[in-house]
């Protein structure tokens, strides 16, 4: 009886659309243990029985180079103890691109599991003049072939019917094709037998299909993993086996030649093509989209729209949500008696939930754009256009959109790194994403600039000094990110340069259903995953705060008035802490009050404006446009009577906030996406150090050139 079916295929073949058509909205997402690969599974009714369908990440081959890529191979081989064994495989094949698609099919064919081919996009193939005969292909390969048009829901019922007739025994009729030289087959058998003798040491029996990969994939993950487990002499033994297996070129090329020979035979029998290749509309579109001039203009325009959308379209919605939660918190504060429960509800539950939900408009808008760009095929063109630029710091074109998104907010940016195929590139991008100046830094920039940067014009009156300062703040993050990414790729995340072999798929109209489901799942997932984490942090903080509040009840009662709240601060725990912080921040030109504001703004950097307001005696209902706060800050003095805030101090504060990682949500998302606490801790550590050092340099250099007395 079939219980679990795997959906396997190349990227961009409509696999997700078919998965959605089969399972509806019933799917659940998660992660495979120990890797950063998303696990997606759903349920389908076959003949009244519920069967699980697992949607595996798109792949071109079972030859894995990294733990992440190995997931597909391991899952199909039954190597994952946490997963139910796969009983049958559905391979989604793009009819417009059948040769390369059949490469993976030929590997799946050798797994000894029942296999069904879902032949997708036959309608597009026909419009290109390509006729594919499912019957003839089924006959050649020896497995059922079901033509489907996943986005039109055509053929899905027929596929279910074929699947419901499958039994585990269906695989018995499958004979391994393609054919390999005798010497090669002998070595795979010999290696399989050899590895069986190590079963106890490995804790599992290595199947023949895995031995095949160990032998062929020189430097691949299957080999690396066994070499680590078996150690002594395994690699020497393996290279002797490789020499015996093949005498002509690499084993990888032997595999490719054998498979493509098999593929040619099938294509010759089942596919007819026009004499001359039809120029498709996709070719014509690409002529402009990747053109030197038009392509660049289109690219800039697309990015401008995306950026504008996440930056400013989302803003009113976010404001609305945040106002709503503030009002709700106020309501609770007004209607409940003071105490721990009220604090927990208002400051913990409501504020915590609010801080998560505020991000939803940005997440949804960005997910929508990314889903649209991915589904129509533009994403890979964007990577094609930008690759040269990003290759300079060791990344690839695929990192561009995640980094751009991070200018709005690092959270959607980090989520967008999921489209990056190489793990080390993905991690590097996630680790530098917080350096892009996000919208939460804007309040501190605008307030500091308005208060302390003179509104004069430079460069012949063309450029305002205030605007220029803002521009430099944005530039600073990018300037620091380039060498940081380069350094990360040379040290912590070093390794062989990943191949930049990127398919440029045929353009197609985005499928509303596919896009909608993607946006919905991203939003839901963000709420569930980041939400629970941020939420629990907020609740914990509220409890801690209310406990210390109770201890200070007397002092607090005496400091109800806003003016007194400043005095209370100075005499409170925070005030005492401030005295400890003072020597640490003095080299940056700061006094203890600024230091405390920076420290208190850890969970979310935008609160620094409000914190400065509280500390400098204004109450916390100030924002960056408050004239009062600006004037107060301008008038603030040092104990010796001099002005506290000079231009160097203001710059030092802005630079610190441009580089530091005062954002609990970003760190929480990093933990979620990397699966380990050590990465967010690393990000916090390196960004804080960097922020401190650069602020220090900026303060002393600008003081030395005399800006302190301007």
């Amino acid at each position: 009886m079939i219980k679990t079916i795997a959906l396997v295929g190349n990227p961009n073949v409509g696999k997700t659309t078919l998965f959605n058509a089969l399972t509806g909205l019933s799917h659940v997402t998660g992660n495979y243990p120990g890797v950063t690969v998303e696990r997606k599974a759903g349920k389908v009714q076959l003949n009244g029985k519920t069967v699980e369908i697992v949607d595996l990440p798109g792949t071109y081959s079972l030859a894995a180079r990294s733990p992440d890529e190995m997931i597909v191979t391991d899952l199909l081989l039954g190597n994952l103890s946490s997963e139910r064994p796969i009983d049958a495989v559905v391979s989604v094949v793009d009819a417009t691109n059948i040769e390369r698609n059949l490469y993976l099919v030929s590997q799946l064919r050798e797994l000894g599991k029942p296999l069904v081919i879902a032949l997708n996009m036959t309608d597009i193939a026909e419009s290109h003049g390509i006729q594919v005969s499912p019957e003839k292909i089924a006959c050649e390969i020896g497995v059922p072939v079901v033509p489907v048009s996943a986005h039109k829901n055509v053929g899905v019922e027929r596929l279910k019917e074929v699947l419901s007739r499958l039994t585990r025994e269906s695989a018995d009729a499958v004979t391994p094709v393609p054919t390999y030289p005798e010497a090669f087959n002998r070595e795979v058998d010999a290696l399989t037998a050899h590895l069986v003798t190590h079963s106890t040491k490995l804790g599992r029996k290595v199947p023949r299909a895995e031995a095949f990969r160990v032998l062929v994939d020189k430097g691949g993950y299957a080999e690396t993993r066994l070499a680590k487990a078996l150690a002594n002499g395994f690699m020497d033994d393996l290279s002797r086996r490789r020499e015996r297996a093949n005498t002509n070129g690499s084993l990888a090329s032997l595999e490719a030649r054998s498979r493509y020979t098999w593929i040619r035979k099938i294509v010759a029998a089942g596919v007819t093509r026009p004499e001359t290749r039809v120029i498709t509309w996709s070719d014509r579109v690409d002529h402009y989209v990747t053109h030197k001039v038009y392509g660049t203009i289109i690219f800039v325009a697309v990015m401008a729209v995306v950026f504008q959308a996440i930056f400013s379209w989302a803003a009113p919605l976010m404001q609305l949500i945040s106002d709503g939660f503030t009002a709700l918190g106020g309501l609770i504060n007004a209607s409940m008696p003071d105490g721990m429960l009220r604090s927990l509800l208002a400051d913990g539950v409501i504020a915590g939930f609010g801080s998560v939900v505020t991000f939803i408009p940005q997440i949804l808008i960005l997910s929508l754009f990314i889903a649209l760009l991915e589904d129509c095929g533009y994403m890979s063109r964007a990577a094609f256009l930008m690759d040269k630029l990003l290759s300079k710091c060791g990344l690839s074109g695929q990192s561009f959109i995640p980094l751009l998104s991070s200018f709005a907010c690092a959270i959607p940016g980090i989520l967008a790194t999921r489209t990056i195929s190489n793990r080390r590139d993905r991690f590097t991008t996630m680790l530098v994403a917080p350096l892009m100046s996000c919208s939460a830094r804007l309040p501190i920039y605008t307030m500091m600039i308005a208060a302390f940067i003179p509104g004069t014009h430079v460069l012949g009156g063309l450029v305002g000094l205030q605007g220029l300062t803002l521009f430099f703040m944005y530039l600073l993050g990018i300037t620091v990110a380039v060498p940081t990414a380069w350094l990360l790729k040379k040290t912590l995340l070093k390794g062989e340069t990943p191949p930049f072999l990127l398919e440029l798929p045929t353009y197609k109209w985005p499928q509303p259903r596919t896009v909608a489901i993607k946006v919905y799942t991203q939003g839901r997932e963000f709420l569930l995953r980041a939400g629970t984490l941020i939420f629990s942090i907020a609740v914990r903080d509220a409890i801690v705060a209310s406990v210390s509040d109770t201890a200070d009840r007397d002092a607090q009662l005496g400091a109800l008035a806003k003016e007194e709240s400043g005095a209370y601060l100075r005499n409170s725990i925070i005030g005492h802490l401030g005295q400890a912080v003072a020597p640490v921040v003095r080299p940056l030109g700061w006094d203890w009050r600024i230091g405390m504001a920076a420290l208190a703004s850890f969970p979310a950097r935008e609160v620094v404006v409000a914190t400065l307001g509280t500390i400098f005696n204004l109450g916390s209902d100030v924002d960056e446009t408050s004239q009062g706060l600006r004037a107060t800050l301008r008038d603030a003095t040092t104990p010796t009577g001099g002005k506290l805030f000079t231009i160097p101090v203001a710059l030092s504060i802005m630079v610190f906030f441009a580089l530091c990682s005062q954002c609990g949500s970003t760190l929480a998302i990093l933990k979620r996406e990397t699966g380990k606490w050590r990465w967010p801790l690393f990000v916090f550590g390196y960004l804080t150090t960097l922020a401190y050092l650069v602020s220090f340099a900026v303060f002393h250099i600008t003081t030395a050139v005399g800006w302190g007395s301007v």
Partner: protein, 76 residues
Amino acid sequence: MRTLDQLKPGEKGIVGYLHGDGSIHQRLLEMGVFEGSEIEVIRYAPMGDPMEIRVQGYHLSLRKNEAALVEVEEVP
């Protein structure tokens, strides 16, 4: 012998020897770039790198230093 990165847009060729034995070598093979495959250069990216080729009936983007591993023969 010319290598793939030396072809101009619109030029066609047949893949000859494929250098290397690492992951780029294997990926190229899997993606259909192997001895005997017909190949056509479509264009280069605006900044000169990477390049776009057609192979096995689909479009593939690769960097010039990767294309330099692919020897190309004239179409007979």
